[in-house]
């Protein structure tokens, strides 16, 4: 961090918040609020005289509330810049009657109560989001007694207690009596791999190795300490991790397969009685411990959400930011020019975070050093003669790539920002938007070709490029058997499927139509597939009104990994297709003929 602070070509804005982002790849405009710290960071020498006289005592967030700080403080010892900051919501003020003590003792006169927030407008070509993560709050898991017993702590609290810069200067003590614990237990997967709704379903990746590291550290401090780790599975998959795990076992750390069902405190001693089913030995065990450490999992950081919305990024199912492609573009996002690194993307250790940050920096650097930005030829093109300037396209564009300069003026597409999902073209009722390489004419021609001969024997399936089409591929490579009656039309996104495409297929004699796309959390165009659902609702209503069985139109979300689901969907569609009679098809063609 200090190297970053000193680098001549890096401008570090601490204690600042991004308020707005506009523009597009290569030309982002970012508005940053640099909050007033009421201390001149260039002049402050961090002598600490101000904090000594500050009368306001607050829990120290960095020390997990295990010690206190003042209203004027340095957030943590290695903070850059090494300068004090005043929390004005806690400060008593500069009026000498109220307080003003820090002003009196600051020789450098660097405290300024009149300091104001500063708004900075920055122009940048690329953005890397590295907003980190939070840890799970174990209070809902009442069986572990975190909210009831002082000697039940989290791994974050343990980190502070064993740190030389911590509240006890590295001496591990029990919070009830200040004595060093001799018997410590660790509970793994606290808030992770949970299916009961109180935790998160995903593995937090880092907790197993963090516990292994902690056990070795504690054994170094006190080789006689009895350490027991309660776990579901120890996941030691990284380079050198298994060795560390073996070292921990060799050092005498006991690993018990099974998570505690109950923790009770002995009120006389403050000791904890842990009841656990040892699933390896197939017996119920009771352990008396001096301290219990909950190995809490990782959760998405709440403060990332406004950034995500500003940059129109997607979230994966677990709430972390979603990459553009898990294998081929792991640090890119669907918004061009925006990259992700570290735990904002998923829980990961330092090594993986550094690896990902290096990759993101390299990707951004490549972009910034290019003379021109090459855009894939899949973008939307507006025909100004047809466009009425209604703005419907701009409203559904997930990337903010379309704007209508003035009422009734033709819409304008920023090609560099357009990702090519095509939901704007499907939304336009005037045929004013052409998706390059996925034009209406091309798709109508495909429907015509599919249904040219014996249309009653096939059904039309619109599949999005990223998930459903790949899911069909997965089914194929896995040699899964399914009926050959599906005729797939690939679109970049299910949001590209114009209602007219579906109606055209029915008008041409299709017995059934399937629209398929990414699961909500996997949508590669942020939320473009929500428009698909809206259009499907409209189509079902129209079909019903026209006397056509709306069930003949189906919608399914199939991910790239769901080959099995794709095969099952096709089998279901085939059953549906076979149930449609020639008379029904003829009736449909007749009643839809007058629908424009």
């Amino acid at each position: 961090m200090m190297d970053v602070g000193r680098h001549p070509r890096i401008r570090l804005l601490t204690y600042s918040e991004v308020e707005d982002v506009s523009g597009h790849v290569g030309n982002f405009r970012v508005r940053v609020r640099k909050k007033a710290r009421y201390v001149d960071e260039k002049e402050c020498t961090a002598c600490g005289e101000c904090a000594k006289v500050c009368p306001v005592v607050m829990p120290d967030e960095f020390q997990m509330g295990l010690s206190t700080r003042r209203a004027i403080y340095i957030p943590f010892p290695q903070a850059v810049p090494s300068a004090y900051v005043i929390r004005m919501d806690e400060c008593l003020g500069d009026n000498p009657i109220a307080c003003g003590k820090c002003l009196e003792v600051c020789d450098k006169k660097c405290i300024n109560f009149d300091m104001q927030d500063e708004l900075l407008d920055l122009e940048v070509g690329a953005i890397i989001v590295a907003t980190g993560m939070d840890v799970y709050d174990p209070e809902p898991l009442d069986e572990y007694g975190y909210a009831r017993y002082q000697n039940v702590i989290t791994t974050m609290e343990l980190e502070r207690l064993v740190s030389a810069g911590g509240p006890t200067e590295g001496h591990l003590i029990r919070l009830t009596d200040g004595r060093p614990p001799k018997r410590i237990g660790f509970v793994q997967c606290v808030g992770s791999r949970s299916s009961d709704g109180r935790g998160n379903p995903y593995c937090s990746n880092i907790c197993c190795m963090n516990t292994v590291k902690d056990t070795l550290l504690l054994k170094q401090h006190d080789p006689e300490m009895e350490i027991t780790v309660f776990y579901m599975d120890m996941r030691t998959f990284g380079k050198g991790f298994e060795d560390l795990y073996m070292q921990s076992r060799a050092a005498g750390v006991r690993y018990v397969r099974g998570l505690p069902g109950e923790v009770v405190e002995d009120p006389r001693t403050g000791n904890l009685i842990v009841t656990v089913e040892n699933t390896t030995a197939n017996r119920l065990e009771r352990h008396e411990l001096d301290m219990l450490v909950l190995s809490v999992g990782a959760v998405p950081r709440r403060e990332t959400e406004p950034i995500r919305q500003l940059l129109t990024l997607s979230r994966s199912r677990d709430g972390f930011l979603m990459e553009a492609h898990p294998k081929l573009r792991p640090v890119d996002t669907p918004t061009r020019g925006v990259f992700i690194a570290g735990c904002a993307e998923s829980p990961k250790d330092v090594k993986d975070s550094v690896t990902q940050a290096s990759a993101a920096a390299a990707r951004a650097s490549t972009l910034l050093n290019a003379e021109h930005i090459v855009v894939e030829a899949l973008t939307a093109v507006v025909d100004p003669q047809r466009c009425t300037g209604c703005g419907a396209c701009a409203r559904v564009c997930p990337f903010g790539a379309i704007r209508v300069p003035a009422k009734k003026e033709p819409a304008q597409v920023t090609a560099a920002a357009c990702a090519g999902c095509g939901t704007c073209a499907a939304e336009c009722r005037f045929g004013a938007i052409t998706m390059r390489h996925f034009t209406d004419q091309q798709i109508f021609a495909m429907i015509d070709a599919i249904l040219e001969e014996r249309p009653q024997d096939v059904f039309v399936a619109f599949a999005c490029n990223w998930c459903s089409y790949a899911g069909a591929d997965t089914a194929g490579t896995a040699r899964l058997e399914y009926p050959p009656s599906a005729r797939i039309i690939r679109t970049m996104c299910s949001g590209r499927v114009d209602e007219d495409f579906v109606l055209h297929a029915f008008k041409k004699g299709a017995p059934a139509v399937l629209v398929s796309g990414c699961h909500y959390a996997d949508c590669h165009y942020i939320n473009a597939n929500r428009n698909t659902v809206r259009r499907m609702d409209r189509l079902w209503t129209l079909l019903e009104r026209k006397g056509v069985r709306p069930e003949r139109l189906q919608l399914e979300w199939v991910s790239a990994a769901e080959g099995q689901k794709w095969a099952q969907v096709v089998r279901d569609m085939e059953r549906l297709r076979a149930s449609v009679t020639p008379e029904e098809i003829a009736h449909t063609m007749q009643v839809l003929a007058d629908v424009p």
Partner: protein, 47 residues
Amino acid sequence: MAAKDRFRCMRCGHEWEGEDSPDRERVCPRCQSNSVRKLPHPAPAQG
């Protein structure tokens, strides 16, 4: 209290009430299909 949305599965015909959300996929609780139609709210009674 806001009126609940009514849904019908277009695969198995199951109907249920719930809340529609742009953050949550529609899934039929009976057959797990995503072909879930939000039924139009009935028109308010006149008079």
